[in-house]
Symmetry: C2
Subunit: 483 residues, 2 copies
C-alpha cells in the first residue's frame, strides 16, 4: 500500500482493532458503517438506512421461508392489559421485571395499566380463544413482524436494546407430537438461515431449565460463536405444551368429539442477528457481509475515472450486473483509496475496479472483501464471474467461521480444567453436567459469567461425572460467555 | 338462484345491508371477511391473516414506489422523551391530548416520561441534527414503516384505532422550492396509488388552517369518497418550512459556505386505506378487492368435484395460473354455494368454475365479483383471459367509484342550499369560503359535523361570496362529513 493510499484510508484506522478492545471495535463498526445512531431514549437505537436494508433482506428471506412452511402473518396490539399478562404464572414472573408500563392515555390515568409487549404469547392466546373451536381450526400457524420492549439496564446496539425488532411465530396444534415437530422444524429453519444464508455455523440444542423461556416446557436454541469466542443466543423455538391453553381456556373439539386443549409453540429471531453477523465475520477494516443479505453486493469503483471512456465503461458494467445483483457504481470525486476503505468498512462483499488498461484488455478486476485477492476477469461473462466470486466469498466466510468455532471449542473433564479454560481461552467449553441448577449457578459465579448455552443435539460422552459437583452426569452441556 | 343455493349462501345474508345501516354493514364486513378481531385493549385491533395480507400487498407496492423515488427506510425508536415532543410548540399542542404515556420502566418510575410515538417528526429531527452538516448531506429522504399510537375515545377498525400501522416519510432539503416539490410529489404518489392501484378516484387539495397537521405550514391531502357519500382523509403530505429545523437547531453549510436551516416535509398513509377500500368498493355480499392488492386474485371452484377428472383439471388450471396470479383452489368438501358466498364475502375479484361439461368443452367459466357475469372461456389461453378479466374488473371498479363521486358531489351557492344539501344528500358539497375559521366552525356546528375536506387543486368559481358569511370568497372548498 502506498503512503498516499494509506493516508486516504485513514478513516479505517479510526476503528479500534478487535484484539485491543473487542467491545470498542464492535461499537466503532456499528457507528462507522452507519448501521445505527444512538437516540435520546436510553437503550433505544436508531437503525439507519444501511442497517435497516440488512434487516429488510433478512426479513424477505425468512418471511418467504415461513410462508413456504404454511405460516401466515398477522398483527397483534402493542399493548397487553396487565391482567392478561398475569394469566400464565411463570410467564409473568419472567417478564414483569423488564416491562415498560403505560399508565396514562389521552391525559387520563388508565383504570388498567398497559404493558408494552415484551413478547406476545398472551395476546395470541387471547385471540386463539376466539377462533379455535374445532380440530378443523387447527393447526394455526401465525407469525408477526413487530417491535417489542424489554427494559434493559445495560444495552448494546443490536445485541441488547430496550426496544428491538423481531418476528415471533405462534402456533397451535392438535397434538403434542405435531407441536413438538413444529418447534424443531422452526429451529431447523433458523439453523439453515444462519448456516446457508449468513455463513455462520451454529450449535443446535436445548436450553436447561434455568435458561429456558418463561412459561415454556422446552426451549431450543441455535448458538453461533463470535469471532472472539463469545457466545450469542441466535434464535429460540419453544414448546409450551398446553399450559397457556389451560390458563386462557382455549379448547377444541377433536376428531372423536372430545374437548381438548391444543398444544402450542413460539419461535423468534430479532435484529440481534445483525450483531451476530458483525461479530462472526467483521475484521479490523470493518463489516463483512454475507452476499444474500448485503445491501450492496458489489461496488464498482472506476480507476482514473477522469480518463476518457472510463465512466462509460463503468456505467455499462453496472447496468449489466444490476439485473442480477445489488450493485452500486461510485463515481463520486472521492479518491479511489477513500472508496476502497469506505466499502470495506461497509462490508460490501466484492469491489470491482475498472480503469483504462482494463478497458483496453476487455477486463476488470474483482477484489474479494475477505481475501482481498485481486482477480482479473474478462468483461465478457462478467455476470457469471461475479456470481462465482460471491459463492467463493460465502464459502470462505463459512469456512473461517467454522474454523473459529472449532479452534475455540475445548473439552473439560475436571473442574480445574474448566476454570482454567474459562479463564485462558474464551470460547465454548464442552463438559458434563448433573442436571442441577446449583451447578450452573456455581459455574457462573466461579467464572464470572460462564453459562450453559445448551444441551446440544449431538452430545458427546466426556465422562460419567458432572464437571462441577462430581455427581453422575445427565448431559453434556456447551458452556460459554456472552457479550 | 335456486332455493338450495340461496340456503347455502345464508352466511352472506347475515350482513346488514348497506342501506339499512352503513356502520353495521362496515362492521359486519371487517368481521365476516376475517380482516380483524377485537382485542382486549380498548381501541386496538388484531389484524388477521387476510387483512394483513392486504396490508402487505399495499406495503410492497408503495415501498417499491418510494424507493424508486430515492427514499430509504429507517427505524426510529417507539418512545419519545416528553421534552423532545415539546420542542416544537404547535406540534405538541396538537398531539398532547392523544398521547399514551409510559411512566414505569423495569419496575421503576421513570425520571422522564416517555410518549409512545403518535408520529415521529421529533425523533427524525433529533437524528437529522446529528447527521446533517453540509449541503452534501442533503436531501435526506427517509421513510419508516411502523406502528403509532393516538389515544382515541371512539374507534372503528382501520378507520380510527388507538394503535395503527402506517408509513411516515420524513425528508430534509436545501431549499423551500425543493421541499415543496417533494411534498407535492408524494401527494401525487398517493393519488396515483389510490387511482391506479386501488381503483379509487380522489380529490387532491390543500387543508385549511384549521384542518392542517400540527406544526405544518401546509398540509395536502387526497380525499376519496365512500360509497355512502362519506369523506375520508386518504393520505396527507406536509410542508414544514424550517420550523422544526429551528426548534431542533438543525443547520447545514450551503454551497456558498453560509449556515442555513434545511426545509422539511413529512407524508403518511396508514391501514386506514383498507377502510377506504371496504367503503369504496364493498357491497351487500361483502368485500370487493382491487386485483393488485387482493390476497387471492382468483379462486378456482370445482363443480361436481366428485366426478372423475374434475379435481385433476382444477389442479392443473391452478398450476397454470399460479405462475402469474395469486390463485387459490378450494377443493374442500363445502358446497359450491357456500364457496361462492365465502369468496364473494372475501372480495376475491374472480371466481373460476370448472366442471365435467367445461372439461369436455376444454373451457371454464370466469365470474367477475363486481358484475357477477359468467363468461365461458377456452382453457387454452386462460392466463391471458384471466388477465383481461382482472383488467375489466379494475376498470369497472374505478368507473363505479367515479360515478359515485360524481353523483354525490353537489354545488351550493347559498347557505340555505348548503344546509339543505348537507341534510338531504350525503356527499361532497362544493362551496365558496372567505378563509375564516369561524365559518368552518359555524358550518360544522349548523350541520352537525360537515367539515372542510380541502381546497382542491382544481377550484371552480361558484360565486364571489363565502357561502356561510357572505364576505368576499377566497377559495372554493370541498365540504363533507366523515365516518
Amino acid at each position: 500500500m502506498s503512503a498516499k493510499e494509506k493516508d486516504s484510508r485513514k478513516m479505517v484506522e479510526e476503528i479500534t482493532p478487535m484484539d485491543v478492545d473487542f467491545a470498542q471495535w464492535y461499537t466503532d463498526i456499528v457507528k462507522k458503517a452507519e448501521l445505527i445512531d444512538y437516540s435520546g431514549v436510553k437503550g433505544c437505537m436508531i437503525i439507519r438506512p444501511y442497517g435497516y436494508a440488512i434487516w429488510e433482506n433478512i426479513q424477505k428471506i425468512l418471511d418467504a421461508e415461513f410462508k413456504k412452511l404454511g405460516h401466515e402473518n398477522v398483527y397483534m396490539p402493542l399493548f397487553i392489559p396487565e391482567s392478561l399478562l398475569q394469566k400464565e404464572k411463570d410467564h409473568v414472573e419472567g417478564f414483569a421485571p423488564e416491562c415498560a408500563v403505560v399508565t396514562i392515555g389521552g391525559q387520563n390515568v388508565l383504570q388498567e395499566r398497559l404493558i408494552v409487549r415484551p413478547t406476545s404469547e398472551t395476546l395470541f392466546c387471547d385471540h386463539y380463544k376466539n377462533i379455535i373451536h374445532s380440530y378443523r381450526d387447527l393447526p394455526k400457524l401465525y407469525n408477526q413482524w413487530c417491535n417489542v420492549v424489554r427494559w434493559e439496564k445495560t444495552t448494546r446496539p443490536f445485541l441488547r436494546t430496550s426496544e428491538f425488532l423481531w418476528q415471533e411465530g405462534h402456533t397451535m396444534h392438535e397434538t403434542e407430537e405435531e407441536a413438538r415437530e413444529e418447534t424443531l422444524r422452526m429451529l431447523g429453519c433458523y439453523a439453515d438461515f444462519y448456516e446457508k444464508v449468513l455463513a455462520i455455523p451454529v450449535i443446535k440444542g436445548r436450553k436447561t431449565e434455568k435458561e429456558k423461556f418463561a412459561g415454556a416446557i422446552e426451549t431450543y436454541t441455535v448458538e453461533p460463536m463470535m469471532h472472539n469466542g463469545f457466545a450469542l443466543q441466535g434464535g429460540t423455538s419453544h414448546y409450551f405444551g398446553d399450559g397457556f391453553a389451560r390458563a386462557f381456556d382455549i379448547t377444541y373439539t377433536d376428531r372423536e368429539n372430545v374437548r381438548r386443549y391444543p398444544h402450542q409453540t413460539s419461535w423468534g429471531v430479532s435484529t440481534r442477528m445483525i450483531g451476530a453477523i458483525i461479530m462472526s465475520h467483521g475484521d479490523d477494516s470493518g463489516l463483512v457481509l454475507p452476499p444474500a443479505i448485503a445491501p450492496i453486493q458489489a461496488v464498482i469503483v472506476p480507476v482514473a475515472q477522469h480518463k476518457p471512456g472510463v465512466l462509460e465503461a463503468a456505467s455499462k458494467l453496472a447496468e449489466t450486473l444490476s439485473g442480477k445483483y445489488r450493485v452500486r457504481l461510485d463515481d463520486s470525486d472521492n479518491s479511489a483509496g477513500w472508496k476502497f476503505a469506505q466499502y470495506e468498512m461497509k462490508g460490501v462483499p466484492l469491489r470491482i475496479e475498472i480503469g483504462p488498461r482494463d478497458i483496453e484488455n476487455g477486463s476488470c478486476v474483482i477484489v474479494s472483501r475477505i481475501t482481498r485477492e485481486k482477480k482479473t476477469v474478462p468483461l465478457d461473462g462478467i455476470t457469471r464471474a461475479v456470481g462465482d466470486a460471491l459463492d467463493e466469498l460465502f464459502a470462505a466466510l463459512y469456512d473461517r467461521a467454522a474454523a473459529n468455532l472449532a479452534a475455540k471449542t475445548s473439552t473439560a473433564s475436571t473442574y480445574d480444567e474448566f476454570l482454567r479454560l474459562s479463564e485462558e481461552r474464551p470460547g465454548f467449553i464442552k463438559a458434563m453436567w448433573c442436571g442441577d441448577t446449583e451447578c450452573e449457578d456455581r459455574i457462573k459465579n466461579d467464572t464470572g459469567g460462564v453459562k450453559s448455552r445448551c444441551i446440544p443435539f449431538e452430545e458427546e460422552h466426556i465422562s460419567d461425572r458432572c464437571v462441577c459437583c462430581g455427581k453422575p452426569a445427565k448431559h453434556m452441556v456447551v458452556w460459554g460467555r456472552q457479550f
